[in-house]
């Protein structure tokens, strides 16, 4: 295992590689964006696969949506490996890469490799995806090829993809104020907001009064929007929320279109009992993230004017964001699937969960933002 010992920039007296004119070393940008492309392909593949099982059904190891899932992780993993090898070679040659290339270096296997933190995370996530893919195959050989999300092997695969996505966030955060890095981060955070609630399906068998993915949304969306504001600065949360809306629109259109086009192309009919409901994964993305982002920006503006002390601001940010996401869920559910019904009990419980998880989100979001701010130092 590796140890978290920053060892690159300036280590051993060797200066970091000088950044090219314009401050954008192409390899750093290309590496980061290739790993991000892998996570985008994985996310699109998952949304497509979920929709495929809802609307069509029959599948094999080689359905296109499965291939998208695998190739996304493969692209992220291979790129991460190349970047780690590149970093190791540069370190050995006495010309260590700058920390804008994936962040601080981590000594892996007793110093045999020098892995930038972001690429280490995304690479470990991709390798873990491969290993848990084998576990998934074994699981299906025992339990059959059912298409439910909340099996241990599926949740492990989701967590592996999530690890890669977190690695991408760290990699772009390490790029600091460079345009490619800030643009990349503005897309990487919405990807995590979309994906992070999915592993919460692991809680499905626990006696909690809410859908576990809703619980995940109430915790993750506020945490990540607050984190975005901390690391991207003014209007950072709003930019991330707008990008999230764009991502939602693309997934919304693509998931149904790809499912129906692919089924038609290979001559498979749609299921008999299809209801006119929204595509599942994109309809779980919070609709009102932009409102939450504007509230976050507004509260921070009040903070800057001195009307709110920082000790009040953090819990206020979190609880307001959590509450807004929670109370908007029934509206979102009603808009996407009018046949569902939110009970009176749920209407009472949702704000309580919103406040409590929101407080946690405020605490976590501000601190994760600070961690990302210093990842390139």
């Amino acid at each position: 295992m590796g140890s978290l010992t920053p060892s690159l920039a300036g280590a051993g007296g060797a200066p970091p590689t000088v950044i090219a004119a314009g401050g954008n070393p192409p390899a750093a940008a290309i590496g980061a964006w290739l790993v991000q492309l892998g996570t985008v392909i994985s996310l699109v593949g998952l949304s497509w696969d979920i929709q495929w099982h809802i609307e069509v059904g029959p599948d094999t190891f080689f359905t296109l949506s499965h291939l998208a899932l695998y190739s996304g992780s493969a692209l992220s993993g291979i790129t991460s490996l190349v970047m780690v090898l590149r970093s190791t070679a540069a370190q050995r040659a006495g010309r260590p890469l700058g920390r804008e290339v994936g962040g601080a270096g981590v000594r892996v296997f007793g110093g045999a490799f020098s892995a930038p933190l972001g690429y280490l995370l995304s690479g470990v996530g991709a390798a873990s995806f491969l290993i848990y893919g084998l576990l998934d195959l074994w699981w299906h050989s025992i339990y059959g090829f059912d298409a439910v999300l909340n099996t241990p092997s599926h949740v492990a695969l989701f967590l592996s993809i999530l690890l890669t996505m977190v690695g991408v966030v760290v990699t772009f955060a390490a790029g600091g104020e460079r345009t490619w890095a800030r643009t990349g981060l503005t897309l990487a955070i919405p990807i995590v907001i979309t994906f992070a609630p999915i592993p919460f399906t692991a809680l499905s068998d626990l006696p909690i009064p809410l859908d576990p993915m809703q619980l995940g949304s109430i915790l993750c969306a506020p945490t990540l929007l607050i984190m975005a504001r901390m690391v991207l600065g003014r209007w950072g949360a709003v930019r991330v929320a707008v990008t999230l809306g764009g991502l939602q629109a693309v997934l919304w259109w693509f998931s149904s279109w790809a499912t129906e086009s692919y089924a038609a192309a290979i001559g498979l009919p749609l299921r008999d009992n299809l209801r006119a409901s929204a595509p599942q994964l994109p309809s779980l993305i919070p609709f009102f993230a932009l409102v939450v982002a504007v509230v976050i920006e507004g509260l921070l503006r009040l903070g800057r004017t001195g009307r709110l002390s920082p000790s009040v601001l953090t819990p206020l940010l979190g609880s307001a964001a959590g509450l807004l996401i929670a109370v908007s869920l029934p509206i979102q559910l009603d808009l996407t699937d009018p046949t569902t019904h939110t009970s009176a009990g749920e209407l009472v419980i949702l704000p309580v969960f919103g406040l409590v998880l929101g407080l946690a989100a405020g605490y976590l979001g501000t601190r994760l933002g600070v961690l990302l701010k210093v990842v390139d130092r």
């Binding site: 978290l4 069509v56 059904g57 029959p58 599948d59 094999t60 190891f61 080689f62 359905t63 296109l64 291939l67 291979i78 995370l121 470990v124 996530g125 873990s128 848990y132 576990l135 699981w139 025992i142 339990y143 059959g144 090829f145 059912d146 298409a147 439910v148 241990p152 092997s153 949740v155 492990a156 967590l159 592996s160 999530l162 690890l163 977190v166 592993p199 692991a202 901390m230 600065g233 290979i266 001559g267 498979l268 009919p269 299921r271 008999d272 009992n273 921070l300 903070g303 800057r304 920082p310 601001l313 953090t314 501000t366 601190r367 994760l368 933002g369 600070v370 961690l371 701010k373 210093v374």
Partner: protein
């Protein structure tokens, strides 16, 4: 060296793409056990693709009324063991991989015990109701679930561990104020 790596990757991708003929490998619905249910004037043959049934192990169920499904419609209820609770009331629909009968594809019953499948059919001979009681589902196969979930949670533990190490080094709480004011 780089050319060789690229060549190997291209060949690997071509092999995957070439072998990805989706229509080839859809598993057929092989029924290995059947039960008969009388729902009023209708006889329904309930088919199972694995037998005996085990909890959490998915299988294909088929529901074939004598004379075919044309001109008939129906509802299915599944009563869980002990509770008598009915798991939804769903319309009988064609099995996606065996379109001449109704069915449930790769469907698992989660808990062991005796289930009851209830049927309500409408057709040319009017309405008929019947059930298949005492459908025994044995214990789940495979390792205990807590062990499976423990193995599955390793990536999460790794992520939490990493955040904990970074947290201890940076102590982000001390810098929140400065960042909030920026």
């Amino acid at each position: 060296m780089t050319r060789r790596v690229v060549l190997v990757l291209v060949i690997a991708l071509a092999l995957v793409a070439g072998s990805a003929t989706p229509g080839l490998a859809y598993a057929p619905v092989d029924i290995v056990h059947t039960e008969q249910v009388q729902a009023g004037p209708y006889t329904i043959t309930v088919g199972f693709s694995t037998w005996p049934i085990r909890a959490m192990r998915s299988l294909d169920f088929t529901f074939a009324p004598a004379g075919g499904i044309t001109g008939k419609s129906g509802l299915l209820t599944i009563a869980a063991p002990g509770s008598g609770n009915r798991r939804g009331l769903s319309r009988l629909v064609r099995h996606p991989r065996k379109r001449d009968v109704w069915g449930l594809d790769v469907f698992a019953l989660d808990k062991p015990g005796a289930y009851t499948f209830g049927f309500l059919l409408d057709g040319p001979q009017g309405r008929g109701e019947g059930s298949l009681p005492g459908l025994q589902v044995l214990d789940q196969p495979g390792p205990p679930l807590p062990l499976s979930w423990s193995v599955a949670s390793l990536p999460l533990i790794a992520l939490i561990g990493l955040i904990a190490v970074a947290w201890r080094r940076v102590r982000p709480g001390r810098r929140v104020r400065y960042t909030l004011e920026a």
